[in-house]
Structure formats: structure tokens, C-alpha cells
């Protein structure tokens, strides 16, 4: 009960500030939080990156192993993405099999990478129909302070860019970096009443009516989208959000590409 009241007060405060273009942590409505990327954090992984988006802290590890292709894509490697919302990261996360939140998150991050054709998966075919590289993207959320969609996406992208395929140990020639064709960037916008806020922090996310994640590529084209929460968007709002995602994506992309 008292939680509800505080939250209503907070909501009013956040909304009043945002109406004048401001946010609690001093950002403008279209500004994402500071992004810090530490690559190759984990030596036991073939690629890894730790990403802090504000105080949201996630770690991505990539493991490559040799296996069979799916029958309907005999010439391409296999991509498998999973997210663990471990209870360390938030008092609201619980141990156990992945819940709908974690499944949606993993699938949206996966689509951003898969549908943008970021990695040339055909180059991960070893022997058509028989042997391909399987790429496991495991995302560990360590500290949850809002907007996991973007944090996990940046982590996956940076980890992919740092991955060296261990071909030599598998007797398959020289090691090589993952072949990267595109650089998708995910940008998530929250809607509070009639206002749109890029990269919502935890409190903004909690009071948001609706959420839209838009992944664009280096041409500004749309590669994946996902609306969430129980509020609605007008078509005009969707268009503004896409335009913002294109612009913010252009700013963030160099951070992900740097190595």
C-alpha cells in the first residue's frame, strides 16, 4: 500500500520533470546513460564483454562448439541466446528456470543479432548438413538498474566482436575472428503518459506505460522491434521513436565497434 503511494508520488515527480525535458539523473529525454564496455573479461570464454549502462551491469560470454546444423539450414551455423536473470541482480529476480521476462529478453536480443545478419552465419558452416559452429551467447545480468534490452544487446554485440573461433583446437585450421557484416544497435524508449524517454532507468521503467525497442543497422534500416507493457502507442509516437532510435543508434555504434 505505502509502496503504491510512494510510487504515485514518484511518478508525478518524474513526469513533472520530464515535461520540462529533464530527468532525475540530469539527462535529457533522448539521452542514453553512460556506456562502459570491458571486452574479453572472461578468459574461459571465446569472447566476452562486461557492459555497464548506467548502473545496470551485465556480463556476456560466448562459447563456440562444433555440432550439427538444423535440417532446414544445412549451410549455416547455429545461434543460441539465453539470458539468466540471476537473483544476485535484483530482489525481484528468483532462481529457477527462465521466466517469461527472461525468455522475451533473450529472444529480442537474439532477433536483433540474427535478423540484422550481424554475423555471417554461412561462414560458420564447416561441412554442409553435417558440421557447423554453434555459437552460445550467454547473458548474465549482474546488477539490474533498468533497460536490460539495450544493455544485453550491447553486451552481446561487443562480445561477438571480441570472439575468436577456436578452430585450431578443434583441428579445423587457424583460429579466426567471428565474421561480422553488420552493426545493429538496439534503442529502447519508455512512454510515461504522453512523454517518451530513451534508455529508461529502473524507476522510469517501473512507472512506464509502454516500452518500444527498435534495432537499427548502420544504414538506419529497421531490423527488429518489440513493444512491451500494457500501455499503447499512437502511430505518430512509433514513428518518433524509430527516428530517435536511428539517431541514438548512430551515436552508440562506434562504442560497440571499438576494440
Amino acid at each position: 500500500m505505502s509502496d503504491e503511494i510512494v510510487s504515485e508520488l514518484m511518478r508525478a515527480h518524474v513526469y513533472r520533470l520530464a515535461s520540462s525535458g529533464q530527468r532525475v539523473d540530469g539527462r535529457g529525454l533522448d539521452d542514453p546513460r553512460k556506456i562502459v564496455i570491458e571486452r574479453s573479461f572472461v578468459k574461459t570464454a571465446e569472447g566476452s564483454a562486461r557492459v555497464k549502462l548506467g548502473n545496470t551491469d551485465i556480463l556476456v560470454g560466448i562459447k563456440m562448439s562444433v555440432g550439427e546444423p538444423y535440417p532446414d539450414t544445412p549451410n549455416t551455423g547455429v545461434l543460441s541466446t539465453s539470458v539468466e536473470l540471476i537473483p544476485m541482480a535484483s530482489p525481484t529476480f528468483e532462481a529457477g528456470p527462465p521466466r517469461p521476462d527472461a525468455i522475451e529478453l533473450a529472444r529480442v536480443v537474439d532477433r536483433g543479432i540474427r535478423e540484422s545478419k550481424m554475423v555471417n552465419m554461412e561462414k560458420l558452416c564447416i561441412t554442409p548438413k553435417e558440421k557447423v559452429w554453434i555459437m552460445f551467447i550467454d547473458i548474465h545480468v549482474l546488477d539490474y538498474d533498468g533497460n536490460l534490452f539495450d544493455a544485453c544487446s550491447y553486451g552481446a554485440t561487443a562480445a561477438i566482436a571480441s570472439t575468436v573461433v577456436p578452430a585450431k583446437a578443434a583441428g579445423l585450421g587457424d583460429d579466426f575472428p567471428l565474421p561480422i557484416d553488420h552493426w545493429p544497435v538496439s534503442v529502447t524508449t519508455a512512454k510515461i503518459k504522453d512523454l517518451l524517454l530513451v534508455d529508461p532507468g529502473l524507476n522510469e521503467e517501473r512507472m512506464a506505460d509502454a516500452r518500444l525497442t527498435v534495432t537499427t543497422d548502420e544504414s538506419g534500416d529497421i531490423r527488429a522491434m518489440q513493444k512491451g507493457l500494457s500501455g499503447t502507442f499512437t502511430y505518430d509516437e512509433v514513428k518518433r521513436i524509430i527516428e530517435t532510435a536511428q539517431r541514438v543508434g548512430r551515436e552508440i555504434r562506434p562504442l560497440l565497434q571499438a576494440s
Binding site: 525468455i103 540474427r114 534500416d221 524509430i242
Partner: protein, 279 residues
């Protein structure tokens, strides 16, 4: 295997005259049929055939939410379970929810949360069940559109019906309502759902590759289709309640022991909840 690769590379999805494999024009919907009130036990239900899709939707509630610790003291929970029957796809699907079904259930739950008057029914749940009996791409849109009719049939008060249709891109052309081959071999798919009367978007997903212009083209196709589906939804509800009336006049049933679905709907929505057109 050889065949699949072959198809994948060579398949022409649009012919020289701009017609799709099933003869449709780019902006053409597949045939749609909706029937309301098809199940006895559920509080509301609807059956839908949409191209090669066969989908059944049922609604229970508002009823006491279980387990108790999930109850929200301020409003009803709106929960959807989207499920594919094992035989609904070419390769048998193992029973039980896979990750795709879990995600679809979540986004559909959120879509209906936008329209149900949840605050009127604290501590309850409105449970929506969508069963895909035969799948041919677009099942989430079909399920959502059918479930909306089932909600109305159950008398759950809501702002309006929701209608849903995807658009996508095949052979570089933006097209409405992709079928299975078009979805498998196409370039992009963008399912959405709206409240047709207000144009508010309650569900939006996309994967593939669309320029901003193409996206806007896709949206305008889907928004148009939603209006047509809205008409079909309301027709189905009109037929359903007309039939009930005929039933009452024609055959006076032998003293029913248990209240049937008609009697168990005390919270029938006020007419304006469905727009001034009424049901």
C-alpha cells in the same frame, strides 16, 4: 535437403503480374471466417479460420486469481496462454510451451491489458486461452483477433475490440498478411495489433529488414486490414447473439439444471464499450 536449398534460393514469391503464390495482390487479406460462442464450458469463445490457420480462443473470468499470492488488490490480471497443438505444424511439436509460445503469450497478455477494464475486478484474473489447431503463419494475429471476440462473448468489460494483422516484405515488396511460405522465405515480418476505433497500437513486433519507408507502408496495410477484421469481429458477435435469441424463441429447452453461459454473464458490457455501433 537439396530441395530445400533449391527452393530457398530460387523461390519466386511474386509473379510477373504482381500476384503472390496464392494469387493474392500485395494488399489482400487471406479469407477470414469468425464464429463466436463455440464452446459450452468457457465463459466466452470464438473460432477463426484465416487462410490455412484454424484457431480457437476461450475466455474464463473475471474469476478469483490462483494462486493467491498472484492476486492484485487493485485490479484484475489479464493472462493469455497461447498454445500450438502438436499436430498443428508439419513436424510434430512436443506438447507444452516452448520459448516462442511463452513470448507470444506475454505480448498478447500485455495487448489485452490495454483494453480490459481491469480496475473493476480487483483480485481476479481474466484468463484467455488460444489454441492453434492448424498453423499457416500469422497465428498470433489470428489468435489475438479471435480472443478479442471471445472476451466480448464472455461479457468482459473493455474499451473496445482489438484487431490484429501482420504485414511483411517478400521479394522486396511490402505485402499484407504473409502465409507460411512467404513468412519462411520472405525478408521481414511485422505483426501488430490495434484498437481499430482509436488507432492505438497494443502489439508491435518486427524482424527482418525494412527501411523506414517500407515500415510505414507495412503499417498502413496492417492498419487498413485491422478495420476490415473489426467488421468481421462485430459480424460474428451479432450473429452469435441473434442466434441465441432465435434459440430462445424456437426451442424451449427441457429445464436446464445448470446455468448455461448466457445466464452466467451478469457483467455484460455497456454498449458504448464497443463503440456507438453497438454489438
Amino acid at each position: 535437403m537439396e530441395d530445400i536449398e533449391h527452393i530457398q534460393k530460387e523461390m519466386k514469391l511474386i509473379d510477373g503480374k504482381g500476384r503472390r503464390l496464392d494469387g493474392r495482390k500485395p494488399d489482400e487479406l487471406r479469407p477470414v471466417r469468425i464464429e463466436a460462442g463455440v464452446l459450452r464450458r468457457a465463459d466466452g469463445s470464438a473460432y477463426m479460420e484465416w487462410g490455412g490457420n484454424k484457431v480457437l480462443a476461450a475466455v474464463y473470468g473475471p474469476r478469483e486469481a490462483h494462486p493467491r499470492h498472484l492476486q492484485d488488490p487493485a485490479r484484475a490480471l489479464v493472462q493469455c496462454r497461447y498454445n500450438m497443438a502438436p499436430f498443428s505444424v508439419t513436424d510434430r511439436k512436443r506438447p507444452g510451451p516452448d520459448r516462442r509460445s511463452v513470448e507470444i503469450s506475454k505480448v498478447i497478455s500485455e495487448a489485452f491489458s490495454s483494453v480490459v477494464f481491469k480496475e473493476q475486478f480487483p483480485r481476479t484474473s481474466v484468463d484467455i486461452f488460444i489454441e492453434v489447431l492448424q498453423a499457416d503463419a500469422g497465428t498470433r494475429c489470428a489468435g489475438l483477433t479471435a480472443a478479442s471476440v471471445a472476451l466480448a462473448d464472455a461479457g468482459v468489460p473493455m474499451r473496445d475490440l482489438v484487431a490484429s494483422c501482420a504485414s511483411g516484405k517478400i521479394d522486396g515488396v511490402v505485402c499484407l498478411d504473409l502465409n507460411k511460405d512467404e513468412d519462411n522465405f520472405g525478408d521481414a515480418d511485422c505483426p501488430m495489433a490495434v484498437i481499430p476505433r482509436t488507432g492505438e497500437i497494443v502489439l508491435l513486433q518486427m524482424d527482418g529488414h525494412l527501411t523506414y519507408d517500407e515500415f510505414q507502408k507495412a503499417m498502413s496495410l496492417s492498419l487498413g486490414a485491422a478495420q476490415r477484421l473489426y467488421e468481421l469481429q462485430r459480424d460474428a458477435l451479432r450473429r452469435r447473439y441473434a442466434v441465441t435469441l432465435q434459440d430462445i424463441l424456437k426451442e424451449s429447452p427441457p429445464a436446464p439444471m445448470v446455468a448455461g453461459p448466457a445466464e452466467s454473464e451478469p457483467e455484460l458490457p455497456a454498449e458504448d464499450d464497443f463503440g456507438s455501433e453497438g454489438i
